[in-house]
Symmetry: C2
Subunit: 115 residues, 2 copies
DNA sequence: CTCATATGCCACCTCCAGGTTGCATGTGAG
DNA sequence: CTCACATGCAACCTGGAGGTGGCATATGAG
């Protein structure tokens, strides 16, 4: 019923989709999961334990950075990556919007049935 | 620090990745956004307004169903799709885990700095 | 019964995400 | 200065995602 909520969802959809897609790859989600403790790690550090080439990891990091999920900062000869909390918050906001819409619909349905 | 939370994240990672990937496509996210009002819609209904073939939409719906984001039920000659609230909830739980980890890290960092 | 409707299934096409290798570049260590 | 190390960049390959069209099948309408 709330057309405003629907409009908000539609407006945020493209960016939300890219962020979801960024987290959709297992390797990338693993990277994010590894960074979610707030640490700043270099590429080679993030390569450790993964069966992939440095370049592959590097590409994934680039994707995550383009989606604004992580941030990179060059210090000396290595670039350190950290999680960016704000986009994660926006993702949560999107999901909350979807589920709240759904909750509202359920409530309306319930009240309709009970009437 | 909480190794249990990290283990939980690692365990849920594969399924979470598939769900993120399912929502990563703009068309699919639009479908989910359209279904999040609790309605049950047929394929042709969902095709209306989208510049895609019925088969394309059908495939997307199949992907969403495989990821357990939506459910289908055949009634008569049409199959109706509805949003499945539980996986959405799990996604939210995953994001909450990530951001709570992050919050914890921030808190620890803050207390460390302030010490 | 007959027909239009709603969908499923299959073959096919195209393009890019994900991955590798090789080389170039910048920077800290000694 | 020289060398090892961390990274960037470009070319290349390949499988599967996303899309189409055609045909088959079930089912409600008349």
């Amino acid at each position: 019923m709330p057309a405003s909520a629907r409009a908000r969802l539609a407006r945020r959809l493209p960016q939300a989709a890219t962020m979801f897609a960024a987290l959709g790859d297992p390797t990338r989600l693993a990277l994010v999961t590894r960074l979610c403790d707030g640490s700043r790690r270099s590429i080679t550090q993030l390569c450790a334990g993964q069966p992939l080439t440095r370049q592959a990891i590097s590409k994934h990091l680039r994707v995550l950075e383009d989606a604004r999920v992580i941030r990179s900062e060059r210090t000396g000869r290595e670039s350190l990556y950290t999680l960016d909390p704000q986009p994660i918050g926006e993702l949560r906001a999107y999901i909350d919007l979807v589920s709240s819409q759904w909750d509202d619909a359920l409530a309306r349905l319930k009240s309709f049935v009970e009437k």
